[in-house]
């Protein structure tokens, strides 16, 4: 059943891609059946899962021992329920949220793709399989953020989200490979059995660092959180679904999933808790600065993700349970908040706090949902957020008690962040809905249709019900999830009233503090705005992109000039470095003493002529003179052959030299005039150095190679055998027509064919010239 559930969204996406455009705006309500069916099946699994979960596995890449294996246990079930449940509500909502003219089929297609990928992430038993679905969620998120592609900000946001999550994804991949190298498997269950082995492995710190990098980027933890606010350019249902309820929680999912494998050490706990709390703090006070409702919710999400991350990092059974519970609650009330903000935006045309106010009268239902959900976020008693927040506080206090003099640190930071959270939560409903209606909205406010209100209403209802009766979900859903993470049965003690203890005091401080500060919120906001003008992480990201672009431009301008002379220089430099370096590293440039005859006067004179000719070629400004001088160098070689009594070589060289000089001269007439660009002095010196070094190296090679003789030269054989076997005294002749007769035949054939080709070319040229001349004459005749 597991693979069926997993493939269902993809199959549905395929159908939507093929036939979706026919359904028009009703498509979403039809497609709704998919997540609804999945949700129903998942609900049936609640309490019915076998110990160890529901497993399905199929061989995939045998060579790598990689199997397509999936498992549904308590932890996955919690996520899957959120994915399918909120997915259903979001699809329903978007059917009414998107205008009738918008491309519904594309939207539904992307959303189904995302849903399938996200289910794949939480079902995957093998971490590599998880990674594949993980990246798929990034891509579908990219498509959804860029859905309104006519907006520039939307494109930028989509790209930024993708770049950051892809970077994190690749880091995670390396971490996974190291993990598989140290444990020999990527199956979560097998990894858990080898936890101590992995934690003792020298790769362990790397594995932790790289995998956490992946989790932190995905879950928008500081300093990678900058993509999440930019992603808010997506249509609001997408923000509610991906960027609050599900996708951003994938990092939390992974950290939870691996806490049995990698957790329990300082190298794991400290980074997760510290980054988590830091994210909570940074997120909540940035949220307070926002005037755009959606941006506020985005930073609020960042903050809450950090809160849950910190709880997961603590890793005690109680903390894991609290994290799972708060994760569930956050998904519901934050989903409701996003959807209500979407309604406000939809009905009034703005999300700007400065323009909104007093909407309660016009939009009573929205106001009620927003108020209840925001109070839950603030942690007000009788609502779901209060209970799970208390549980996390409890774990933080316990963890703090182990830290001696710093016992106050973790609870203290969490309390401050909670205070800020409560403060902006109050802003959410108070500034938007209470007070006088200002009439500054682009459209007059009116309540949305019941259909649009249904989804946020249901989510708010969950927040209220769970707040009143936490046992509705704790025993059936949260405890199994935490047990799956802890590897032992966990039972969380969710209650409305625990008595006056440290966590309660923290909650009370946060709420009372928020109420006290609330009247001064505008001044506080102004203060915060002065404190931090710019986002350093944002700036770093921009600097990274710009730097890369600048580097690319510089390299291209400098290096890829398009001039062959430059290319040649680079190639020669590479030679000098490569050959020189390697030879130095493997025996050096030492030469054996040479046992060669000393040069004769004739040889010296010819050598001098060649050197002089070469220098002249380099220095002369006349192309004609250069060609002729090149010939002179060639003819000096011919004379050398003559001097060494090798007439055949001399003749060959003579012919080649003459022909090439003549050809060059003939072609020279057609060349465009050579332009000499002035070369900078530094460049000249570099050219000279490279030329001298290359020359020296080739000389060394020739001399060195000359000293090597592995076997008898073949010439002796021909000297001895040309008369008895070939019947001729002219050894060269005998070789050509006898010993290598077939070669000669081949050469003659090739030459003949080439000659034929030349004849044809010349002939066609002549014919064309004649024809053109004839045409010209005719033209003149007319």
């Amino acid at each position: 059943m597991l693979p069926t559930v997993l493939t269902l969204p993809f199959v549905a996406a395929g159908l939507v891609a093929l036939f979706g455009h026919r359904a028009g705006s009703k498509l979403a309500s039809v497609a709704l059946a998919v997540p609804l069916a999945i949700f129903a099946w998942l609900v049936a699994q609640v309490g019915a899962l076998p110990p160890g979960g529901l497993v399905w596995s199929h061989g995939w890449i045998e060579e790598l021992g990689l199997a397509l294996s999936f498992r549904l246990d308590g932890w996955s079930l919690l996520f899957a329920l959120l994915i399918a449940g909120i997915g259903t509500l979001v699809l329903w909502y978007s059917r009414f949220y998107l205008g009738p003219d918008e491309d519904h089929s594309k939207f539904v297609l992307y959303l189904l793709l995302f849903m399938g990928s996200m289910l794949g992430v939480v079902f995957a038993e093998n971490l590599l399989v998880l990674y594949m679905f993980w990246e798929l969620t990034s891509i579908s998120s990219f498509l959804l953020i860029g859905y309104w592609h006519e907006r520039e900000a939307s494109r930028e946001g989509a790209l930024k989200a993708l770049v950051i999550t892809v970077i994190g994804g690749f880091a995670m991949l390396v971490g996974l490979l190291l993990l598989s190298l140290s444990a020999g498997t990527l199956s979560v269950r097998e990894l858990a059995l080898k936890a101590s082995e992995i934690q003792a492995h020298p790769f362990y710190p790397w594995i932790v660092g790289l995998i956490l990098a992946g989790a932190f980027t995905k879950s928008a933890q500081v300093p990678f959180h900058i993509w999440l606010p930019s992603a808010m350019e997506a249509p609001t249902p997408v923000s509610a679904y991906l960027h609050s309820a599900t996708m951003v929680k994938a990092g939390l999912y992974l950290v939870g999933r691996l806490s049995l494998v990698l957790g329990g050490t300082a190298a794991w706990t400290y980074p997760v808790v510290v980054v988590g709390l830091l994210t909570m703090l940074v997120g909540s006070y940035t949220a307070l600065r926002q005037r755009d409702l959606k941006a506020l919710l985005a930073y609020s999400t960042v903050s809450q993700l950090g809160f849950i991350m910190a709880a997961l990092g603590l890793g005690t059974p109680g903390a894991l349970g609290a994290a799972a519970f708060h994760l569930f609650n956050h998904a519901t009330f934050k989903g409701a908040l996003f959807l209500v903000v979407g309604i406000v935006d939809h009905e009034t045309g703005t999300r700007d706090l400065a323009k909104l106010g007093g909407l309660r009268r016009a939009m009573p239902w929205s106001a009620a949902f927003m108020t209840l959900s925001a109070l839950s976020l603030a942690g007000v008693p009788l609502l779901s957020g209060f209970i799970s927040k208390e549980l996390i506080f409890t774990s933080l206090v316990e963890a703090g008690s182990l830290m001696g003099g710093l016992a106050w640190l973790l609870p203290g930071v969490a309390t401050v962040a909670s205070l800020l959270t409560a403060l902006y939560s109050f802003v959410l409903f108070h500034e938007v809905f209470d007070g006088q209606a200002r009439g500054t909205t682009p459209r007059p406010a009116r309540e949305a249709s019941p259909a649009l209100l249904l989804s946020p209403g249901l989510l708010t209802a969950v927040a209220v019900l769970v707040g009143l009766g936490p046992h509705l979900v704790t025993g059936s859903l949260i405890d199994p999830a935490a047990s799956a993470l802890a590897g032992q049965p966990v039972e969380i003690h969710a209650a409305l009233w625990h008595g006056v203890n440290a966590p309660f005091l923290m909650s009370a401080t946060a709420l009372v503090g928020a109420l006290a500060f609330y009247p001064a919120r505008h001044r506080l906001r102004a203060l915060l705005e002065r404190l931090t003008t710019r986002w350093t992480a944002e700036r770093a990201y921009q600097a990274f992109l710009n730097g890369l672009m600048g580097l690319a431009q510089r390299v291209t301008d400098r290096h890829m000039t398009g001039r062959l002379a430059d290319y040649l220089l680079y190639i020669l430099i590479a030679f000098v470095v490569l050959v020189g370096g390697t030879v130095l590293a493997n025996g050096g440039f030492a030469l054996r003493p040479l046992d060669l005859a000393s040069p004769t006067v004739v040889e010296l004179v010819l050598l001098a002529a060649m050197v002089a000719g070469t220098l002249f070629v380099v220095r002369t400004r006349s192309g004609l003179a250069a060609i002729i001088t090149l010939g002179v160098v060639g003819y000096s070689v011919v004379l050398l052959w003559v001097h060494w009594q090798a007439p055949d070589l001399a003749l060959t060289q003579l012919v080649v030299e003459s022909v090439s000089v003549v050809l060059l001269l003939l072609a020279f007439v057609h060349f465009p005039k050579l332009e000499r660009k002035p070369v900078a002095a530094g460049r000249r010196r570099l050219n000279l150095a490279v030329a001298v070094l290359s020359g020296a190296m080739v000389s060394w090679l020739s001399i060195r190679a000359n000293g090597t003789q592995l076997f008898e030269p073949i010439s002796q054989y021909f000297i001895e055998n040309s008369l008895p076997l070939g019947g001729g005294r002219n050894i060269v002749n005998v070789i050509l027509v006898d010993f290598r007769g077939l070669d000669t035949l081949g050469e003659i054939t090739v030459l003949s064919i080439a000659a034929l080709g030349v004849y044809m070319l010349v002939g066609s040229r002549i014919r064309r010239t004649r024809r053109e001349a004839a045409e010209r004459q005719e033209g003149e005749g007319l």
Binding site: F170, L178, M560, L564, N586, R704, T708
Partner: protein, 476 residues
Amino acid sequence: MAVTGMNFTLLLPELILVATGILLVLLDLFTEQKRVLVYAGLAGVLASLLALIPGFGTTASIWADMIQVDSLAGFFKIVFLAVTALALLVSLEYVERRQIQAGEFYALLIFATVGMFLMASSLNLLVIYLGLELVAIASYALVGLLKQDGRSVEASIKYLLVSSATSAVFLFGISLVYGTTGSLALPQIAQALAAGAASQPVLFAGMLFLLAGLAFKVAAFPFHMWAPDTYEGSPTPISAFLITGAEAAGFAALLRVFLVGLPGLADAWTTIFAALSVLTMTYGNVTAISQTKIKRLMAYSAIAQAGYVLVGLAVATGQGTAAMLYYLLVYAFMTVGAFAVIILVANSGAGEEISDFRGLSQRSPFFAWALVIYFLSLIGIPPTAGFFGKLNLFSAAIAADMTWLAVVMVINSVISAPYYFKVIRTMFLEEAAEAEPVRAPASLTWATAITLVVTILLGLVPDQVYSWVRLVAGAL
């Protein structure tokens, strides 16, 4: 089973190709319907592919060990034939529109394939050189076939000059190796090295010259400068053909020369390949970012991809070789596929700037989505074939204790994401200048469909093919 002597059935694939090339030249004289040439070429390629079957699984050398028929050669020949067939398909429309001389074009394409065959199926340095030159000479002409286009002619001349220089270097390398080991046959060279020839400094120079000559062919840094100019100027199907086929042939020769011939010097060349690999991929990816022309972008992307493949030589293990082979196979399909889309856009009247891809998602959703898949695969994002290809290379590097190399690869993959996504963004998120749907000829649709299916299947169900390349690599 070792077979010696003249065995023509084993040479049949090459002979069929040569015959096809000649046939195309003749056909060109007698028919005005130039499409026929493509069909005849495809038939020849198919016949050659069928002729490969009898020799499959055998290891034999023919003509005094000049030609080697083995599983590695078989693997590469299949890649070459696939690339050639796809190149023929994507050329059909292109050649007609630009009025390129069809006979020359298709015949040279086939002859270049024969050269690639030689490069992949010989253990003799001279024959490898012959193959290399055959590919090169055919390519010079192919690159310059857009005679009216100055860029095409310039590309051809540049390619000719730089390539001749490096060919000379390669020849010099052969003579140095021959002089120090006394043989041109790679197995004998390996024996001579084992017997003590490895200690000669001149041999290192010879090795490096061979390396440089072949590094030029695969456009590895610092011998890559010709590639962007050449691939930009040449007819687009030829860019696709050279970027995949000729490059794969260069890697085939690299594998043969270094793994079979020079294992005795592995300490030196693994280091060099590792350095070249890092420099090549980084250079390619960084420079690709600032490109505004799609063909130049693909050229720099090709340089970067060659850097990834070089990882396999840097680790010099069976696993590394298998990863290389798999990646080359995947690379051929995804790149030719991407070029098919580029050709479609160019044929539709838009140019070859990245901005010409604006709104392609509306004008032709199928091709736009196909390009997305190819690009995701080139970045290495699952579940495409490129992901699995890169994963193999990562694993090979890590298994060979070169984790840093895997890390550099990953960083490079990250750097590469923005420039591919720039194109995707242009296609999906920018409005087209004209909203008319693009008319796609059947040939391009087929080429895209085939490459698309392969790119996806090699990512989703890589098992069979991966076992095969493991076998091929193991037999090397």
